[in-house]
């Protein structure tokens, strides 16, 4: 157990990257959103109108901006931290479990931070001037519980995907991520080919919780994959 805690501490040791950079990115996206909103405002749109709220809430910029960083964080949490952890005396098992626990911890941290920011945004009537950065559709459109689940699973998924690609690199070198990406493209392509005839019915029956299940499946498969890659990975 202590070895797993040590692995979590190892990941948390990069304090600035782990705790501050997500906030920084969220802040930058907020500023950019405000600038864009200002442009629309100057162009004649009126804050508070139905059209303004509709277009402001449709801004998914936070996902794109944070997603890229989180995948990188997932990659570096294995790609460079793994050899370092083994040097310090970690087992592969403790490192893999500790990495998974750290991913969950960071996902919870970002979810709570986003919840707080959303609550502030709503409480201040969208930063006093009608700007939407967190009260947006992709984050649950103001529903705090939905935001918590979306951000937690989203962050967890991005980190887990980054980790499994890095695990394949640690195990097989540059061929690892290439083959993994190729395999995923083939599997996803075949999956789409199978379901595409019934796509209309699937879209009609779509439930939001399907995405939560899909994220859970991705997290489980990516974590298993990371473990399978790392358990036999040799540092050279």
């Amino acid at each position: 157990m202590s070895a797993i805690v040590s692995a979590v501490k190892l990941h948390l040791n990069r304090r600035r990257q782990v705790f501050l950079v997500p906030l920084w990115i969220a802040g930058v996206v907020g500023v950019i959103s405000v600038v864009i909103a200002l442009i629309f405002w100057r162009g004649g749109s009126q804050p508070g109108t139905a059209e303004w709220i509709q277009s402001s809430r449709s801004n998914p910029g936070i996902i794109y901006a944070l997603g890229g960083f989180l995948v990188y964080l997932g990659v570096s949490s294995v790609g460079t931290a793994y050899p370092f952890a083994l040097m310090l005396g970690s087992t592969r098992r403790a490192f893999a479990i500790g990495t998974l626990a750290w991913q969950a911890l960071i996902a919870a941290y970002v979810a709570v931070v986003f919840l707080v920011l959303e609550l502030i945004e709503v409480a201040t009537h969208h930063w006093f001037v009608g700007f939407y950065a967190f009260d947006i559709y992709v984050l649950g459109a103001g529903d705090p519980w939905r935001l918590l689940v979306i951000v937690f699973l989203g962050v967890f998924t991005f980190l887990a995907i980054g980790a499994v690609f890095a695990g394949s690199w640690v195990r097989f070198g540059v061929r690892g991520p290439q083959l993994l990406a190729l395999g995923l493209v083939v599997v996803i392509g075949l999956g789409i080919a199978i379901v595409v005839p019934g796509l209309g019915a699937i879209v009609a029956a779509f439930q939001l919780w399907w995405l939560a299940v899909a994220a859970g499946v991705v997290i489980v498969l990516a974590s298993l994959g990371t473990w399978l890659f790392l358990r036999s990975a040799v540092i050279r």
Partner: protein
């Protein structure tokens, strides 16, 4: 004396090439082993197996009587900093110093501070931007301040200036004396380091060519030098590890101890017999002059 490290018939192959080939050796607890040999001889692979960072293709490795691979309690007693050690992104020295004690129960903040000061390691520069010597200095801090019962130092001198190397020697010996542990040190700076070693192992082509206590080194070989004709005649029927010839003169490193007959005949023929240095021995074993099978007996 109990052995901290025990290796039996270990081979490790990567693809088609064997990094280690049937290696058997043991390292007594509380000793300093010099692991010597040419680049690619198998030194880092040996350390990697001891540190549980790799598994042998055949044979077994034991540290304190247990297989180290994925063995939590054994690995907590071992530290192995590679010469090309990778650090997490954006790490600086403070990050290293914050996390290392979490893994190293015997971590000495005082030794770490002394080494950082003496080796002049910058504490705000990202490790990614460190020079070769500064990377070696960080590895030395981790290796020595952890006070791990088994400390594996892989080429710790790379890029270090002469003052830093001497300082490292002083701290190593002082801390080792105060806190005995088992140290395996690989290096190419043989002359500078040989005073540290209790025992020496020379690897070449993944095999153990020599495994002796330091005081037994002079008995392992000798150097015969003089007129080429005399040296050739005296060296016939002996195992010549390496030889150097300039017009008319030859110097040959010969396996074994010189007997009285050889000494007197050398004197008559104008040749000299001298003892071999450890550096000459390492160079000779790596010279590819002798069939490896002829060297298998060079162990004590």
């Amino acid at each position: 004396m109990t052995n901290a490290i025990e290796i039996q018939s270990v081979s490790r192959a990567y693809g088609g090439s064997k990094a280690l080939d049937g290696v058997s050796l043991s390292v007594p607890e509380g000793s300093i082993l010099g692991l010597l040999g040419r680049n690619g001889a198998g030194k880092t692979t040996f350390m990697s197996l001891v540190a549980g960072q790799d598994r042998p293709s055949s044979g077994y490795v034991e540290v304190f009587g247990e297989r180290p691979y994925e063995h939590e309690s054994v690995l907590s007693q071992v530290i192995f900093v590679r010469d090309n050690q990778r650090y997490p992104d954006r790490y600086d020295l403070k990050d290293v110093l914050r996390i290392a004690p979490v893994y190293a129960p015997n971590w000495s903040t005082e030794v770490a501070a002394e080494l950082i000061d003496g080796l002049r390691i910058p504490d705000r520069t990202p490790i990614k931007k460190f020079s070769r010597g500064q990377l070696s200095a960080v590895a030395i801090v981790l290796g020595l301040a952890s006070r791990a019962p088994v400390t594996l130092l892989d080429e710790p001198y790379l890029g270090l200036d002469v003052t830093a190397r001497r300082f490292f020697h002083d701290v190593l010996l002082r801390d080792y004396t105060a806190h005995p542990r088992t140290i395996v040190l690989s290096t190419h700076l043989v002359e500078e380091s040989e005073a540290l070693f209790d025992r020496v192992v020379i690897l070449d082509h993944g095999r153990v060519r020599l495994d002796v206590a330091s005081e037994e080194i002079p008995e392992q070989a000798f150097v015969l030098s003089g007129p080429s004709e005399a040296v050739d005649r005296l060296a016939s029927n002996r195992v010549v590890l390496a030889s150097h010839t300039v017009p008319g003169l030859t110097s040959a490193t010969i396996l074994g101890a010189p007997d009285t007959g050889l000494r007197s005949e050398a004197g008559r023929r104008g040749a000299q017999v001298s003892s071999v240095s450890l550096q000459e021995l390492v160079a000779a074993f790596g010279a590819d002059v002798v069939e490896p099978a002829l060297l298998e007996g060079a162990r004590a």
